[in-house]
């Protein structure tokens, strides 16, 4: 990824978020320049998805790990945030129970399950947003990479992981609201969620976190660690004969990627107002891979661009011709794979010398 594309991406994300907020808050609703709050929330959602895309690109583009279950980490971060927002509702719920969320009262539960304790505390909830995806990724990655599971087998296992979580979270007994998930949030850190200023604040916060994640990812892939990682991606066995342990490199970047996805999920939930098990659905993870492929694998900025553009297309398309969207998405993926192997970023930088180390091999090794 070139420095130019990184700068443009940071500028676009931050500048765009601030501009939209100003146009929402400072311009009167009667003006043609006014941006409706609906749009602010929508763009906030796109930027949360962009964090998921960035996470996918980090492992797929730079470590050759094609994860088809990355939305699981996104959803877990989202649930951790959702649990905090649920506890914030307090007595304003339908049943007016100060401790138990509505769905627990409905299920006739008498006390809060142990794993819900602490989520009334914002700091604890934020810690869990980072920790839960990280620990799951650590355990999963340690087992998979140590056993040298890679390629399509690893992709299938990641898919199974998210599907298993989908089924588990559907169950009412799990204590996460089952089918309906967590919703009806009132406020966050004591600030009402529906207020326009909160909406704009969330959008700008998402933009800031996305930029921080971009900078961390960029540092990681351009460091000597990143060079080893790219070497592992293309010729894993060779790195072993040089004395590197590829499993440790993969594990680090895998956990980092899960954390970025988790933070994305945590920012997504307050802006969308709901988190339910459908976020674990395998289709979501596959869609995230398409965003990255469209934007350009192994470019980081391309992942952000791809996520925003494809989701914008989805919003427009599902409004006009909802039944055709999935066909359009599938066609897009096939066309990009066939005609634009470098994605949009590859098209934009065609003809210009690209930094050698970040050009991904057409096929992941092994």
């Amino acid at each position: 990824m070139s420095t130019l594309s990184l700068r443009l991406c940071l500028l676009g994300v931050l500048g765009g978020a601030i501009l939209l907020s100003v146009l929402n808050l400072a311009v009167p609703a009667t003006s043609a320049m006014h941006v409706p709050t609906y749009t602010v929330a929508l763009v906030g959602k796109y930027l949360s998805y962009a964090m998921l895309a960035l996470a996918v690109d980090l492992v797929w583009g730079f470590a050759g790990i094609l994860s088809l279950g990355h939305a699981a980490f996104f959803a877990l971060g989202g649930y951790a945030m959702g649990m905090y927002l649920m506890r914030q509702i307090g007595t304003r719920g339908v049943y007016g129970n100060a401790i138990l969320p509505d769905f627990m009262v409905f299920l006739n539960w008498k006390e809060l399950p142990w794993y819900w304790h602490g989520f009334d505390n914002a700091a604890f909830a934020i810690l869990m947003v980072l920790l839960v995806p990280a620990v799951l990724a650590l355990i999963f990655g340690w087992l998979a990479f140590r056993s040298r599971v890679s390629g399509v087998y690893l992709s299938i296992i990641t898919q199974a992981l998210t599907y298993a979580l989908l089924l588990a979270f559907f169950r009412n007994d799990m204590g996460f609201g089952g089918n309906n998930g967590l919703t009806d949030f009132k406020d966050m850190f004591g600030i009402p969620l529906q207020a326009e200023t909160t909406r704009c604040g969330l959008l700008v916060a998402t933009a800031v976190f996305l930029c921080i994640a971009l900078l961390i990812a960029r540092y990681t892939v351009t460091s000597r660690f990143g060079k080893v990682l790219i070497a592992v991606r293309d010729t894993e066995s060779r790195t072993r004969f040089l004395g590197y342990r590829p499993e440790r490199y993969k594990l680090f970047v895998w956990v980092l990627s899960a954390v970025i996805a988790g933070v994305g999920g945590a920012l997504y939930v307050p802006q969308v107002g709901i988190i339910n098990p459908s976020e674990f659905s395998p289709a979501n993870s596959i869609e995230a891979v398409i965003w990255v492929a469209v934007g350009g694998r192994g470019t980081l900025a391309g992942a952000v661009l791809g996520a925003v553009l494809v989701n914008l297309g989805k919003t427009v398309f599902t409004g006009a011709l909802p039944e055709l969207w999935l066909f359009a998405l599938g066609a897009l993926f096939i066309l990009v794979t066939l005609l634009l192997p470098g994605g949009i970023m590859g098209l934009l930088t065609r003809g210009r010398a690209r930094p050698a180390a970040t050009t991904p091999a057409p096929e992941p090794a092994e």
Partner: protein, 249 residues
């Protein structure tokens, strides 16, 4: 354990079977410190399997593989054996294609291999000096900023040899270094190998008899997974058994 203090590599009765096929059959081999040895043999003689066993890629069914003062290599994996000082060059040149020549050497330089180090590592002056020195040895100084994937076949072979040098191994395993090279490149490569050999031991697997002759070292002939003959190139070329299975066709 051997009694010789100057034995670097010691293989004794090493047997490896794949689905009943004996790739190595009670193979024994002793390599001295600072020695260069050429290993020849027809296809399927077990040359590559022998390298796999030494570098930890394949575990032998039976037999002993010892390095230096009795370090048992059969209990170690590839990164541990590499860290011990055994470098390997593959038959097909395997360099890190998207990286520059410089970065390839940087990644190969002896040093801390843990992520917690490489995440924060900065190039030091000693590292730069060492890389420049190697670039001169392998004659790739003008190509330092080129993508390794854009190098010619012969240049990739040299880069890989350079990466081995950067590892500062005590023992170098080199698999068919002149395969696919021009005559001029073959000669240069043989010279390069002799240069490398000065402070360290080298085990060269080679098909090309011209190259083996140019190296002028002791030769071990493998056949069906064990040693058929051993000695100077003239000695083994005159051995009737060698002529029968390999040279005389």
């Amino acid at each position: 354990m051997t009694d010789h203090a100057d034995t670097l590599l010691y293989l004794d009765g090493v047997t490896v079977s794949f689905d009943g096929f004996r790739a190595l059959n009670a193979l024994s081999l002793v390599l001295e410190r600072g020695e260069m040895r050429a290993v020849i043999g027809p296809n399927g003689a077990g040359k590559t399997t022998m390298m796999d066993v030494i570098t930890g890629k394949t575990r032998p069914d039976t037999g002993r593989v010892e390095f230096g003062q009795g370090t048992d290599l059969t209990r170690m994996d590839e990164p541990a054996i590499a860290a011990l000082g055994i470098g390997r060059k593959f038959q097909k040149p395997t360099v890190f294609e998207p990286h520059t020549v410089w970065d390839n050497l940087l990644l190969a330089l002896a040093g801390d291999r843990r992520p917690r180090f490489t995440l924060w590592a900065r190039e030091t002056d000693e590292e730069r000096d060492r890389i420049r020195e190697i670039l001169n040895t392998i004659r790739l100084a003008e190509h330092r900023d080129r993508r390794a994937g854009d190098l010619s076949h012969g240049q990739k072979q040299w880069l890989e040899i350079g990466m081995l040098l950067a590892q500062e191994p005590q023992l170098l395993l080199v698999d068919e270094p002149v395969a696919g090279m021009t005559d001029a490149e073959t000669e240069q490569t043989a010279e390069l190998l002799r240069e490398i050999n000065r402070p360290r031991s080298v085990l060269v697997v080679e098909h090309d008899m011209a190259c083996v002759r140019a190296l002028g070292v002791k030769v071990t002939v493998l056949h069906e997974g064990s040693v058929l003959s051993e000695g100077s190139i003239d000695h083994v070329s005159a051995d009737p058994r060698v002529i029968e299975v390999y040279l005389g066709r």
